[in-house]
Symmetry: C2
Subunit: 345 residues, 2 copies
């Protein structure tokens, strides 16, 4: 009931009949202590149920065994898959992950960064809400490792792991243009997210490449990249007279696309016959949607694994660490939601 007296390294030492230093050595450099002593100490540890206090270790060592992961939305399967990748890699290295959800809110992000700094985390893996690296630079100056996640670093001395979002936008748009679409809606937001902007500009680029006017792509900004916001955007799109209405919709992520799909279906607009739909991320649920969703696939788990690996590398050997900006290539997965060649406007 009442928490018994915490057992410390000192208790172990006296129980095993050695000094505290030796116990510490058994814990941290088992090789330098004689086997017989080591066993005696281990026995004492077991008997007393000693659990090292990481706070004390951290205090002494300067940094702890935790790292922070800051994502835009826990509820988005894209990020949970990334998180899984991170966790795989760090878990194997005996590190703990403090999981933070910025919800796309700069204030919340900032609060979490404060918290992580107080925890003296080894490093932070983060998908920043906006480009104000300001804060992150300060973090680095204080010795906190920073790896940008799903975002390309503009500074050569900061690692990043990202996917080529412009290319992703191009792939999606080229696909729709080739299918004959000439009025296309882009649904995404908030605009402050670089991913959204990049995917949009990639799409624009594909348009120009095909010799089409920029007006071919109409922008519908959403307040958040969620299913509900997608439903909302869809009704805005349907609010236009049919002759001006888009015949295809490209969404900046799959949650938006699923929302759009729901609302279109509710209003009895057929997908893909009346409106074609392409999402982004290719989350597992895209393939299981009411109309299986075409989507731009990203290597989600690898993203997380690579970022974690980069961080561990730098943590273990800061001197010969080479900062890297890793870029993966996305891949278009065509499913039913965009399988309908349009022959007339």
């Amino acid at each position: 009931m009442v928490p018994g007296p915490a057992v410390s390294i000192r208790d172990v030492a006296s129980q095993a009949g050695v000094s505290v230093g030796t116990v510490s050595n058994v814990l941290n450099r088992p090789d330098i202590v004689a086997a017989s002593t080591r066993n005696r100490v281990l026995a004492a540890i077991n008997e007393l149920g000693f659990v090292p206090n990481d706070a004390a270790r951290q205090l002494r060592r300067g940094r702890g065994r935790t790292l922070g992961l800051v994502v835009l939305d826990v509820a988005n399967p894209f990020f949970t898959d990334v998180a899984k990748g991170v966790e795989d890699t760090t878990g194997a290295a005996g590190m703990a992950v403090i999981f933070c959800n910025s919800d796309g809110d700069p204030a919340k992000e900032s609060r979490y960064l404060d918290l992580l700094e107080e925890q003296r985390v080894q490093g932070v893996l983060i998908t920043p809400v906006d480009d104000a690296n300001e804060r992150l630079v300060r973090l680095r100056e204080r010795g906190v490792l920073v790896v940008l996640l799903d975002r390309r670093s503009t500074r050569p001395d900061v690692c990043s792991v990202a996917v080529d979002d412009r290319l992703g936008g191009e792939l999606a748009m080229r696909h729709l243009v080739e299918a004959g679409h000439r009025r296309i809606a882009f649904v995404g937001g908030p605009w402050r997210l670089e991913q959204v902007r990049d995917r949009y500009h990639g799409a624009l680029h594909a348009l120009r490449e095909a010799g089409l006017a920029e007006e071919t792509l109409r922008r519908f900004e959403t307040p958040s990249p969620t299913v509900a916001a997608g439903r909302d955007a869809a009704s805005r799109i349907l609010g236009l007279p049919r002759s001006a209405r888009a015949t295809a919709v490209f969404c900046a992520n799959d949650l938006l696309a699923l929302g759009v799909l729901q609302e279109l279906t509710r209003q009895q607009v057929r997908v893909p016959e009346d409106i074609a739909l392409v999402g982004y991320d290719d989350i597992d649920f895209a393939a299981a949607a009411a109309v299986p969703l075409s989507s731009v696939r990203q290597p989600r788990q690898r993203l997380g694994q690579t970022a974690a690996r980069l961080m561990l590398d730098e943590a273990n050997d800061p001197d010969n660490h080479q900062h890297q900006q890793v870029i993966f290539e996305p891949e278009l997965v065509v499913r039913e939601s965009s399988q309908y060649a349009r022959t007339s406007g």
Copy 2:
């Protein structure tokens, strides 16, 4: 580049011309220090960019400002929603959440509990892999608060927040029985998960209540509660001759149900005409599925919020804390996947 010398409470003190004790008081009990002194200290803190070291604080105080959350699967939207509820509540209280993913693996769960113990977390919110409370009891004895999540506590001195899984199973089964189904498959697993067993037994109970034989319900155990396992279970179900084949499937969660749905569709079995389908959890994607999925809804965010609240309550006022076993009621949401009254076997 090179991390400058870390600034400590001592630097702040000398900069402000006060003692360390006073700085500490400014941080922790601002009211007992004179306004003028306080301002001087705050100014120094700002100027030096001082960030308190939580490890030192924790070392002194005994326990830190973090808590552990251990779930069965990060990739399952049910748990991410729960996590969101937890994070809402703890974030507001300035606590950090260490997020752990046991993946249903007892060994991994155990490793994470070790880690959390070393971190000296205030408490642990956990959905245990199995019923071996053994480990959790030990944790409590050492002063780590424990709240069971999505699992009913059998001990009166441990808080828990759960949903009535037997009732959920009953609701689903009653629905199918009333629609005329007489050969029903239950898909769920691994069996070691109490949730799975409870939902199954609830289903059995509804069956008996309706005066039907227990053989009406056939069990298909899965190695994990995932989409892939669901696909697999579906092909096992379809392996039976049509006359013996179930006309309805009740899945222990929505991921399984989505997997079943995918495989049935692939093999051109119609849902709900040929086989009706009911899932569990009512994750957001259930409504957006190829065939909108009937499901048993749980108050996911509230689950997380309530658990976190219980833990904070006990942490803040251990003496008059009343341990509680909160039980929420699930609710059946009927959608297209089970909307087909069966008139003949």
